[in-house]
């Protein structure tokens, strides 16, 4: 049993304490936008924000998430998120789209703290998010585009 703060709502989940947050979100709370890709924090498909910081929900337990502010792709909003989504749409970033929840979460977190990221900043912030369709050129361009939008 854990009491979680997800997308601004207090929710109770009746699951074992050591269950990864990912599976509580997906299977118990119906928040399926957060994806499973590897289960070892290697691919970033399960990225959520915990107190505003991007985290791999496959490798955090529900117990550890208690008392923290959790945001999933469904609840992501704000200036950086809007700029990221608009840029992603404009540049048609997604292909299969399966990793893109995680990419959007990671990019929005980057821009929220660093509104003018360099290529090196983008490398550092995004290298944990795998895209097997290799939409990386567009991800990089879209982050720069979103940064420009936010600065405008």
């Amino acid at each position: 049993m854990a009491l979680l703060d997800i997308n601004g709502k207090r929710v109770r989940v009746d699951v074992p304490d050591d269950m990864p947050l990912l599976w509580a979100l997906r299977d118990e709370l119906g928040l399926t936008g957060t994806k499973y890709g590897c289960g070892m924090a290697l691919c970033g498909a399960c990225t959520v924000h915990v107190d505003g910081i991007p985290m791999r929900s496959c490798s955090a337990t529900v117990k550890a998430a208690e008392g923290k502010r959790i945001t999933t792709i469904e609840g992501l909003q704000g200036k950086a998120a809007a700029a990221v989504r608009a840029a992603w749409q404009k540049l048609e970033v997604p292909q299969c789209g399966y990793c893109q929840s995680g990419q959007v979460m990671a990019a929005a977190a980057l821009l929220a703290t660093n509104p003018k990221p360099t290529d090196d900043d983008i490398d550092a912030a995004m290298q944990g998010n795998v895209c097997r369709c290799a939409t990386y050129v567009r991800i990089r361009a879209a982050i720069h585009d979103a940064a420009a939008t936010m600065g405008a």
Partner: protein, 728 residues
């Protein structure tokens, strides 16, 4: 304005128009998913299998092809919408049911499925006709309503007009009337000069839900009472369950059942994580008496041993032995490429509900509906028509989901059978399951001896290819290979049809029969033949002391499309401009699936070791580019997918066990490794469109290897590229 700037401004224009209209602009309707806000009212007008128009004006295009990222939904809908003169903002896509009679792939002998980069290619004529027929009937209906001749009715952007009387009607307003009309047999198609959607970067239909996490993939399906199954698979191919102690698994709260199935032991639970906990708690004794325990190293040795033995002859022209003996210069090299797995980010999964009256209903990213229907029907003892398939968008495939034996689909069905269908079942593989399951791109060894004459022209090309057939899992393939004298076309494609004029050619194939399950992987045989052929021609050019681009131009056997692609890529890449020490530029051109792609790769080899791929310039001839931006995206993706394999991709068997269990060992390409510049140029063409999902992949490894040669003077003979090629 160059073509790229033009494309961007067109796209912006389309988007600005869409934004001005407001509201939810586009949608994807998916079986099993919530209908989009703009879902059609009951559609009264369904003149054919591919289009329905509702009284609200929504145009629903039915896609017979899987959307796995390649943009099929958007491309197919564009073809229909173009002939209809539909308003793109009112177009939604729905997946076709499994029904080969209506939705068969016209390049697959009518079997329903997606692959071989055939979606647009096989649907082009069919969907143009479908759209044009619907348009003619809407025009007829409007003309009858207004009592004017049909020739006087114009259509644009989803609105029918009679200009003389200033009357107009939306598609929705005349849809019911159109539904009462006979379907005309032969309707004229639009002239390309009248196209308003084809050739433009219309927005993809499936982007918005991917940015909000609302697109429903198989992993997201939840049926009432559904159980999730996670399966313990044998650690080695060929092993089976001897005995299982499931007491610990059953003791876990939430575990509902544990069942034996032909491929292992399944744990069923209320959610995925508990099912996995249960699976991990099983104590299984495996029967290894028929296990396949050879490792990759032994397999390579066995393959190499075949090289000097005569193989099946795929092509023989002239006298290659004599020509090699007489050649002015000869090169000889052995090339090796490893097993590769597809590593889709969404691991294999499938939802099955058995039906009380027989048959089943399935939800998954179906890529070969006909084969899957037959397989499931055989497993259930029902008719194929009783197998209802809801095709959901897939989180990547790269060929994997079109499995010749319907492997993971049948596994899901077996679990459902084992619990007698008392609950819907979602089979979910973990990443580790997916990595170890096989169905790899086969491992190959190539040996090439090639010679040039005193003038530098290629005079002899002797090529031996050893490896499993990617088709091996299909029925009748072994017999077909035997009939073809021991040649597997899917292993020699790209070599057998060399693009170059060489008077003496011998291509031989040793098809290995092995228990390691293999299948097609993005671009099939071209994955390795493109690498080897374009590495060898590059080597011949440098032996001849000639520029790699000029040499290819000189020796193409005709091949105007190769020439055009090469010229475009070379012109846009800065080819020929001098590079500082430690940098290199390489070229490769390869045709696959009727599409020709040229790529120029630029690398920097660092003095301290390692290298970066800085830039890729790509030119593609795919006939009419239905959506140029999707074409560019597929080239970018094909390049990245191939680069991932060239840098890191390798499945290694040790004592039969797959070593690369997850992404720390089977390393995928990550953002910092992607070239910062990937420029894609499209060769202008009015020819029948050909595929783009796969053809971006084959040239990359050779272009990279050739660039590394320019930078280091060393030739790459093996993929993935090893450390010794990474020093300047």
């Amino acid at each position: 304005m160059d073509d790229q700037a033009m494309a961007v401004s067109r796209r912006d224009m389309l988007r600005a128009g869409a934004a001005a209209a407001g509201g939810l602009l586009i949608g994807v309707r998916l079986e099993g998913a919530e209908p989009p806000v703009n879902a059609a009212l009951p559609a009264p007008f369904a003149p054919n299998a591919f289009v329905r128009i509702g009284t609200d004006g929504t145009v629903t295009v039915i896609s017979k092809h899987l959307e796995m990222g390649q943009g099929a939904y958007t491309g197919l809908a564009t073809i229909v919408a173009e002939e209809l003169d539909a308003d793109w903002r009112r177009v939604v896509v729905e997946s076709a049911p499994a029904d080969a009679k209506r939705y068969g792939n016209l390049q697959w002998g009518g079997m329903q499925g997606t692959g071989g980069s055939s979606s647009i290619n096989n649907s082009w004529d069919q969907l143009r006709k479908a759209g044009a027929t619907a348009r003619a009937m809407l025009v007829q209906a409007a003309a009858a309503q207004w009592k004017v001749p049909p020739e006087a009715v114009t259509v644009s952007n989803g609105v029918l007009r009679h200009l003389a009387t200033r009357r107009q009607a939306t598609f929705g307003a005349v849809a019911s009337r159109a539904a009462t009309l006979p379907v005309p047999a032969d309707v004229p198609l639009k002239a390309p000069s009248a196209w308003t959607l084809i050739g433009r970067d219309v927005p993809r239909l499936d982007t918005a839900p991917k940015l909000r996490g609302t697109l429903q993939y198989t992993i997201d399906v939840k049926r009432p009472g559904m159980l999730v199954a996670v399966v313990a698979h044998p650690p080695v191919f060929g092993a089976t369950v001897a005995s299982v102690d499931d007491a610990k698994a059953r003791a876990i709260p939430g575990v509902v059942d544990v069942v034996r199935i032909p491929t292992g032991v399944a744990v069923l639970a209320r959610n995925t994580w508990i099912a996995k906990q249960g699976r991990d708690a099983l104590a299984i004794t495996w029967d290894r008496s028929r296990a396949k325990t050879r490792g990759s190293a032994q397999l390579v040795e066995a393959y190499r041993a075949k090289l000097e033995q005569p193989g099946g002859v795929a092509r023989r022209e002239g006298d290659v032995a004599t020509a090699l003996a007489k050649a002015a210069q000869v090169m000889e090299a052995t090339f090796e490429v490893p097993y590769l797995t597809h590593a889709t980010l969404e691991p294999m999964n499938c939802v099955v509900e058995l039906k009380p009256a027989g048959g089943a209903e399935l939800w998954y990213g179906a890529q070969m509906q006909s084969g899957d229907q037959f397989g499931v029907a055989a497993a259930l003892g029902c008719a194929p028509e009783q197998v209802v398939i809801h095709t959901l968008p897939a989180g990547g495939s790269f060929g994997r989901r079109a499995n010749p034996r319907s492997d993971y689909i049948l596994e899901a069905v077996e679990v459902a059978k084992a619990i007698r269908g008392r609950a819907p079942v979602k089979l979910q593989w973990t990443r580790e399951d997916d990595q170890a399951a096989g169905w790899f791109r086969p491992m190959y060894v190539h040996r090439v001896r090639a010679g040039i004459d005193a003038a530098g022209a290629p005079v002899a090309w002797q090529h031996v290819i050893v490896g499993q057939s990617p088709m091996a899992g299909l029925p009748g393939v072994a017999e077909g290979i035997a009939k073809a004298g021991g040649v597997d076309d899917a292993s020699v494609e790209g070599v057998k049809n060399l693009a170059y004029t060489v008077p003496n050619v011998l291509v031989e194939n040793h098809v290995i029969a092995d228990a390691v399950p293999v299948q097609w992987w993005r671009s099939v045989g071209h994955t390795h033949t493109g690498f080897v052929v374009e590495s060898v021609i590059d080597e011949l050019a440098s032996m001849a002391g000639e520029d790699a681009a000029a040499y290819r131009r000189k020796h193409y056997a005709g091949k105007p499309r190769h020439l055009a692609a090469l010229d475009l890529a070379v012109a846009r890449s800065g080819w020929g401009a001098p590079l500082p020490k430690g940098r290199g530029r390489g070229l490769a051109v390869h045709e696959s699936f009727d599409t020709v792609v040229a790529e120029v790769v630029e690398v920097t080899v660092k003095p301290e070791g390692g290298f970066t791929v800085d830039r890729v310039t790509c030119a593609v001839d795919c006939g009419v580019a239905v959506n140029p931006d999707v074409v560019r995206a597929q080239m970018e993706g094909g390049i990245g997918y191939a680069l991932s394999a060239a840098l890191h991709g390798e499945i290694t068997l040790v004592d039969g066990v797959v070593q690369e269990t997850n992404f720390h060992l089977y390393k995928p390409l990550r953002l910092p490794e992607m070239p910062k510049r990937v420029d894609v140029h499209i060769v202008p063409s009015s020819a029948h469109p050909t595929g783009v999902g796969e053809p971006g992949t084959p040239p990359l490894a050779a272009a990279l290897a050739n660039a590394l040669f320019q930078a280091t003077g060393r030739r790459v003979r093996r993929l993935p590229i090893r450390e010794e090629f990474t020093r300047a």
